[in-house]
C-alpha cells in the first residue's frame, strides 16, 4: 500500500532544511568539506559534515548531535504536514540509525526524538547500517497498512564519529579526495545528517508518495557486496512488485553509489539485471558525491534529495564525474548540476554491511493504481531457543528466572560453520534460528533460500566484541584498531552472520525497540510474510548477550510460514508506549484468550525475553495448556506490542 508524503524535513552537509538542500544542489554545490570536529591525523580528513556542527566543541557525546539533527529534521517535516487533527498516539516514529558510538542505546535516542516531537505512537528503530533509513520508509507503509497510526514520521539520523572514520579507513574504502562515484578514482567519502518524511494514507489528488519497498539479504560477506549485485537486484524487484510497477515505468534511479571498487560495479550489474536493455539509457546518479555517505541516514537524505528534485522538475546529479569507470551506469548525470526532467517514478537503492539491501519506489501517487494487498494467513512453523535451562517453564509459571547461556560450539549446531568472527551474540542468534528451522523441519534449500527472510530484534551489539574493540583502540589508537571488530559494531552484524551461515536471503531487517524488540521483530516478520508473495517463510526473533546491566542472555527465534500448521498467528498489533490496551484490543479482536504471557515476569526486560514469550506461547499450545494465547510486552518508552497465537482447530 502506498503512502503520500505530507511533510519533509532534512539536515545535510548542504545545510539545514529542504530549501537549503534545493538551492545549493541547484548551484552544483558540494557539502564535502574538511573535518574540523575531531583529529584526523593519518586519516582522510574529508566528509560531508553538517557545516555549523564542524567545530571541536561538537565532538563530545555524538549521540546528542544525532538526536539534535533528528529533532530538527522532524520538526521541519511536521510543520509542513500540519497534523493538528491527529492525536499524538496515532502518530508513529520510525528512525533509522547505525551510530557506532554505543554510549546511548539507539532505541533510547529514538524515544528522545519521539518525546521532543510529541509523537506518542509506536517509536521504532531500524538499524541495518546503510539501509536503515531506507528500510524505515518502508516500515512506515506497513504501520499505515495495519492501521496502527494515521501518520508516520519515518527517516533517520546519523553522525560521523572518529570511530567510523577510522573503521572505514581500515577497510581501505575511503577516497583520498571527494568521492567520484562511477568514476575515478575509486573510494567513498563519509557524511552525516538526518531526514524525515511524514507519511499518511493516500488521498485524492496528485502528491508525492512512497509507493512500495523491497528488502533482501546477500549473505556474501560482512562488509562487501556480492559482485553480481544479486541482493540489490532482488530488493529492487521486490520494491517494484510491492508498488505494482514495472521496471520499464521507472524514470530514474538514485543509486547507493558509494564510489568504492566493490560497490559500483556490483550495483551496475544489479541495474542491468533489473532493467535489462533499458539500463543503458536510464539516468542513475549518486547523491553521496555531494552529501557524503550519511550511513544510517543515507537512505532518507538521498530519498529526500530525489523527491526535492522531482518536485522541481529535475534529477539530482553526480559530482566529480570525469572518466567512466568500467562497469558503471551509462548515464550518471555527471555534469554536477541537476538536469531538467519530468519524473513520475523513481527508485532509491541502498546496500549495507551485513548484506542488507533495501530499495524504495517513490513518485507521483497517481502513477500507480491503488491496490489492496492480499493478506495470507501466517502460521508458527517452529521455534528455537538458546538460553539457560528452564527459561520457558519459568515464563509459563510466571517465575523470575535468568542467567547465562551454557557453553556450546556453533559447529555442533551447524557443522559447516567457521567459528571465527562469530561473537557470542551472533552464536546465540544463529543457533536459535537453526533450532527453529530444525523444529519446523524446514531447511532452506536452493531457491527457497531467497524466499526465506530474517528479522531480528536487538538492542545492543556484542559485549565481548565491543570490549575487545575498545581494547585495540586503547592500546593501539584508532589507526591500529581491528577492522573486523569494527564491522561487528553495527546492530545488524549478528543478523548478517546468521543470514550468511543459514543462507537466509529473503527480506532482511533488524529492529531495536527496547525490551519489546524481539516481539516487534516477530510482528514485523508476520506482516511481511502476510503480504509479500516473494516470501515463503521467515525467521524472526530476539537476542541479547550478557551485559553489566543484565546478566540474562539468550536468543529465541520463530519460523513463520504459509503452510498450514497447528498454530496460527491470529492477530498482532503495536501501539505507543502506555497504550498496551489498544494493542491488545487490536490483536485479540476482543475475543477471549486462555493464557496471557508477559516476559517481564522473568525479571529480564530485554529483546530476547520478548521473543521467548512467543516461543513459550507456542509451547503452551503444543502442551495443551491453552488454545488461544496472548503475548504482550511493554517496551520502555518505545512501543507496546501484542500478538495472539491460536490452535488452528480452535473455533
Amino acid at each position: 500500500m502506498a503512502a503520500v508524503i505530507t511533510g519533509m524535513g532534512v539536515i545535510t552537509a548542504l545545510g539545514r532544511g529542504v530549501g537549503a538542500l534545493w538551492s545549493r544542489m541547484a548551484e552544483g554545490d558540494t557539502g564535502i568539506r574538511r573535518i574540523e570536529r575531531f583529529d584526523t591525523t593519518g586519516l582522510v580528513p574529508l566528509a560531508g559534515l553538517v557545516a555549523d556542527r564542524n567545530a571541536p566543541e561538537h565532538e563530545a557525546e555524538p549521540w546528542r548531535l544525532c538526536v539534535e539533527y533528528a529533532i530538527e529534521a522532524g520538526r521541519e517535516a511536521l510543520a509542513r504536514a500540519a497534523l493538528d487533527g491527529v492525536p499524538p498516539h496515532r502518530i508513529a516514529l520510525v528512525m533509522g540509525t547505525s551510530l557506532g558510538d554505543m554510549e546511548m542505546p539507539l532505541y533510547r535516542m529514538t524515544e528522545l526524538v519521539g518525546e521532543a516531537l510529541g509523537i506518542a505512537g509506536p517509536r521504532l528503530t531500524v538499524s541495518t547500517a546503510c539501509t536503515s533509513s531506507t528500510n524505515a520508509l518502508g516500515l512506515a507503509l506497513d504501520l499505515l497498512d495495519l492501521d496502527l497510526a494515521d501518520a508516520v514520521v519515518a527517516g533517520g539520523s546519523d553522525v560521523l564519529t572518529p570511530l567510523v572514520v577510522a573503521g572505514f579507513h581500515s577497510l581501505g574504502v575511503l577516497a583520498e579526495g571527494p568521492c567520484a562515484p562511477f568514476s575515478e578514482p575509486p573510494g567513498t567519502t563519509l557524511g552525516e545528517g538526518a531526514g524525515f518524511l511524514v507519511q499518511q494514507r493516500s488521498r485524492e489528488g496528485s502528491q508525492l508518495a512512497v509507493l512500495g519497498y523491497g528488502l533482501a539479504a546477500e549473505g556474501f560477506h560482512d562488509t562487501g557486496p556480492d559482485p553480481t549485485g544479486v541482493g540489490t537486484a532482488r530488493a529492487m524487484q521486490a520494491a517494484l512488485a510491492d508498488a505494482g510497477v514495472a521496471a520499464a515505468d521507472i524514470d530514474y534511479v538514485n543509486a547507493h553509489g558509494t564510489g568504492t571498487r566493490a560497490n559500483d560495479p556490483a550495483e551496475w550489474r544489479a541495474l542491468k539485471t533489473v532493467f535489462g536493455a533499458r539500463a543503458a539509457v536510464l539516468p542513475v546518479s549518486s547523491s553521496k558525491s555531494f552529501l557524503g555517505h550519511a550511513q544510517g541516514a543515507a537512505g532518507i537524505v538521498e530519498t529526500i534529495t530525489t523527491l526535492v528534485a522531482i518536485e522541481r522538475g529535475v534529477l539530482p546529479p553526480t559530482h566529480n564525474f570525469t572518466v567512466a569507470r568500467p562497469n558503471s551506469p551509462s548515464d550518471p548525470i555527471g555534469q554536477g548540476l541537476p538536469r531538467a526532467a519530468t519524473t513520475r517514478l523513481a527508485v532509491c537503492a541502498n546496500a549495507a554491511f551485513g548484506g542488507a539491501c533495501c530499495s524504495v519506489v517513490v513518485g507521483r501517487s497517481e502513477a500507480i493504481a491503488p491496490r489492496a494487498p492480499i493478506r495470507r494467513d501466517v502460521f508458527a512453523a517452529g521455534v528455537g531457543v538458546v538460553a539457560c535451562d528452564g527459561m520457558i517453564d519459568a515464563l509459563l509459571a510466571g517465575r523470575r528466572h535468568g542467567g547465562r547461556v551454557p557453553a556450546f560450539r556453533i559447529e555442533d549446531v551447524i557443522p559447516s560453520a567457521d567459528p571465527r568472527g562469530i561473537d557470542p551474540i551472533s552464536r546465540f542468534l544463529t543457533a536459535a534460528a537453526a533450532r527453529a528451522l530444525g523444529d519446523a523441519n524446514l531447511i532452506p534449500r536452493g531457491n527457497l533460500r531467497e524466499r526465506t527472510g530474517l528479522v531480528v530484534g536487538i538492542n545492543h551489539v556484542s559485549t565481548e566484541s565491543q570490549t575487545a574493540l575498545r581494547e585495540t583502540i586503547d592500546s593501539h589508537g584508532y589507526r591500529g584498531m581491528s577492522a573486523s571488530l569494527f564491522s561487528r559494531m553495527v546492530l545488524n552484524a549478528p543478523s548478517g552472520t546468521c543470514s550468511k551461515l543459514l543462507a537466509l536471503k529473503g527480506a532482511f531487517s533488524t529492529i531495536s525497540a527496547g525490551s519489546a524488540a524481539g516481539l516487534v521483530a516477530i510482528i514485523y516478520a508476520a506482516e511481511l510474510l502476510a503480504k509479500r508473495p516473494e516470501l515463503e517463510q521467515i525467521v524472526a526473533g530476539g537476542v541479547d548477550e550478557q551485559r553489566p546491566e543484565c546478566e540474562t542472555e539468550g536468543a529465541a527465534c520463530a519460523v513463520l510460514g504459509r503452510g498450514v500448521s497447528a498454530i496460527r498467528l491470529a492477530g498482532w498489533a503495536l501501539a505507543g508506549p502506555g497504550h498496551l490496551a489498544d494493542a491488545v484490543a487490536r490483536a485479540t479482536g476482543d475475543r477471549r484468550v486462555d493464557l496471557v504471557i508477559d516476559p517481564n515476569v522473568t525479571g529480564a526486560h530485554i529483546a530476547f525475553t520478548s521473543a521467548l514469550a512467543f516461543a513459550a506461547g507456542v509451547h503452551a499450545i503444543r502442551r495443551g495448556l491453552a488454545r488461544r494465547v496472548l503475548v504482550t510486552t511493554a517496551g520502555e518508552s518505545s512501543v507496546d506490542a501484542a500478538l495472539v497465537l491460536e490452535a488452528t482447530d480452535a473455533t
Binding site: 581500515s170 581501505g172 562487501g224 567459528p419 571465527r420 568472527g421 592500546s475 577492522a483 573486523s484
Partner: protein
C-alpha cells in the same frame, strides 16, 4: 652438525614464525594449534581461509606486534601468501632497519 650460519638463520625464522602463529591464533582467532600452521600453507582463500577483512587485521597486527609496515597495493598480496612470505618481509624490513 649444522653450519653456524644456518643455525642462526633458522633461529631467526622460527622466532618470527612463532610470533606470526600467535597472531593468527589470538588476533585472527584461527581455530588451529601452533603446530598445525605450516609455513608454506596458503593464508587466504584455501589454506587457513582468511578473507579480506582478515587481511586488514593482519596488516594492523604486523605493524602493532612486529613493527613491520606491509607495503600497499599490489605488493600486499604477494607478501601475504603464506607464513614464509611474511617472514621474508619481516626479515627484509628488519635487515633494512
Amino acid at each position: 652438525m649444522r653450519p653456524e650460519s644456518v643455525l642462526g638463520h633458522v633461529a631467526t625464522r622460527e622466532q618470527i614464525l612463532a610470533k606470526l602463529r600467535h597472531v593468527l591464533i589470538t588476533r585472527l582467532k584461527l581455530r588451529r594449534e601452533l603446530d598445525e600452521l605450516d609455513p608454506d600453507a596458503p593464508l587466504f582463500g584455501s589454506g587457513f581461509g582468511l578473507d579480506s577483512l582478515d587481511a586488514v587485521e593482519l596488516v594492523v597486527c604486523m605493524d602493532n606486534e612486529l613493527g613491520v609496515r606491509v607495503p600497499d597495493g599490489g605488493m600486499l598480496r604477494q607478501q601475504m601468501r603464506s607464513l614464509n612470505t611474511l617472514v621474508d618481509l619481516v626479515i627484509a624490513q628488519q635487515g633494512a632497519a
